[in-house]
Amino acid sequence: MKAERETAAFGNAQNVETTVLGADEIILNMGPQHPSTHGVLRVKLRLDGERVVDSECIIGYLHRGVEKIAEHRSYQQFAPYVDRMDYVAAVSNGLGYCEAVEKLLGAEAPLRARVVRTILTELQRIASHLLWLGTHALDIGALTPIFYAFREREEILKIFEKYCGARLTTHAFRIGGLQYETYDTFERDVKRFCDDLGRKIDEYETLLTANRIWLGRTRGVGVLSAADAIALGVTGPALRASGVKWDVRKAMPYAAYDRYEFDIPTRDSGDTYDRYSVRIEEMRQSRRICLQAVEDIPGGPIMARIGKVLKPPPGEVYHSVEGPKGELGYYIVSDGTIQPYRVRVRPPSFLNLQAFQRMAKGAMIADVVAIIGSIDIVLGEVDR
């Protein structure tokens, strides 16, 4: 509890305390406007020289009241709002929401819809990880990988644009299935992209994985033990990098994931390098899923027969998907009307960011940026 009491004092007052050597501790404020805090995040660091003694994340700068809005929109009307939370991986948000409402309704999307959803979600995972890779490398000083990563991400966004008309906030899925059929060259585009991707990931790895400077900046930095990760509710690549082999896609499969073979990459030290390594490997596994799925798209309807007016019977459901950042959950309570009574989004970035305080203790200022980057947060999701 001592750490928490210190945090309370730290959070409420700007006292300058003295350290053992009699030197003052500085309180350094990073953000909310800062090139490296990945959105409007404010981090207050208490520094002893160059080392971080304690830290506090102040969030809420992007709070838009999405959960309140949900109570005043119908189920379908709310679907575009969920894209705007984790705006980097909009398709995953949409998948989670649509599947949660389908569970609430007792409907299931037809197989064709589920397979196409899987493909698009995995492409979105690759796109999210590419963006993460570029920005994380840029924070650490590698100026080049971001451009290569964005070059690949551009291909994915082109596929999304051809499919549903939007690149970023796609609203690709509908409750009950899909609205749009796959376009003519969809399979060919996906296959061509995936074939190329393996080589491109190798390119990024050449620049970073064995690079001495990269290792020096990321090995041993921001360590999060498995026990801490579980206690703090951390999920996603950060949890897997700490050694816990768990992925919602394997534990509680949804969409069409149980039809495909893929591995769950884990590492054991839970430092920044391991989180990097896990995400690179996840990109490869996503590519594997896409290649399998794209051979496997069955014929059939793309939309379940659930009617236009959705009034789920009163009750509640919690459904989660494995978003690129972690377990993205939707807890929806219905009171039998066309508007949900309560929609709660379980934001993976929010809980992952809570672990930052633990990870940053004892790190140096330059590491703080690396750690924030390696957690992979999107403030839209943290704040909703």
Partner: protein, 447 residues
Amino acid sequence: MSHLIPSSILPLVVPVLCAVVIVLVLPLLAGYIVLVERKVMAGMQARLGPMRVGPHGLLQPIADALKLVLKEDIIPARADKVMFWLAPLVSVTMALLAYSALPIGPAFQIADLNVGLLFIVAVSSLGIYGIVLGGWASNSHYSLLGAMRSAAQLVSYETAGGLALASVLLLAGSLSMKDIVQAQLDQGIWFAFYVPFGFFIYLVASIAETNRAPFDLPEADSEIVAGYMTEYSGFRWSLYFLAEYANMIIVAGIATTLFLGGWLRPLARYRDHFPGTSVELLDAVPPLLALAVALYCFHLAPKQPVKIQKLVMAGAGGACAVVALALAGALFAPASVMQGVHGAFWFLLKVFTYIYAFMWFRFTFPRYRFDQLMRLGWRFLIPLALVNVIGVGIAIVLREQFDWNPFLSLVPTTLATLGVAMWLVNDDAPAAAANLEATIAQSGDGE
């Protein structure tokens, strides 16, 4: 003309002219080096770089310079005004002053000091004052942190670089830049091959000296905004910027003079002539090179999409052709002119290659964290440089006292230095220890 000028001032005319040329040309040159860097950066990042301002962005430096000059001069409210004004001046003055002893070819040197190298290194060190003063005067956390880090980094790597230079001096026997080049000519080999570790150490130290990636933490955007330059904008900032690029050219110049043979042609001792003329075979290489580049530009010109780009490419080809003509013409001119022109060509080529290597490193490697940077300087480079100097000393003793073949004398000492380098590089203990400290601090405070 010489009868028009009083004889007391005559010896000063050429140096003053050179100085004026340097002070005028350098900002423009620095601007165009920035453009080249941006184009090179873009090429490595699969994009185009500046394209809008002038064809292929050729007028970009002019636009940037104009913008900076016309910008509002903002001084932070509680900044120390005198120091704030003085700091960039110190940086720029020292950077420009160092050019006075730098030989750009055998004919173009403002002052041929007999302690030329010492002068340049000393003056470059004074440039650190500009950084520290700038950080202090800005009255801002970020700036002060950046300035202190920068100063510590520069001082540490000066030591390593200086020791690397010392190893070359032992071989050259003189501090005068001209004499060092002459020594390379006499000994028939560039010192980079004689003392490869010296070259390597100086390469790394010079990157750190100029605050370039991977040692650019003090100016890293993502961490402390721009370090000591944070509060500077407009013209004052451009002075710092100019100082940085001028420094880059100086260290490239030093490296070229000391390690890469200065203005010497590669294989300078191969003196075979074209039959019947006094033109050396290898001296025909520069004009042929320039001609090849010109022809390539002419070849590319029709393929450019836009008319103005065609014109500019053709113009570039034309410029290269003019250079080729000048170089060819110089072949038939008196020896001193020939030396001057060709020497300048080779010198500039080598300097540019060195700077290109700087750019290459910048866009390939991530940034070192500050403590890792200092550790690299003090625990790797300086011990290595010391060992290197001792090795070269031993090699010289072997050569002079025991009449060993010069190459042979250097081989064992270079190998010994290599062994030390491998040992030092793999001595990961301190780095791992630092990260381990952090882990222990974390887990100790956890519940």
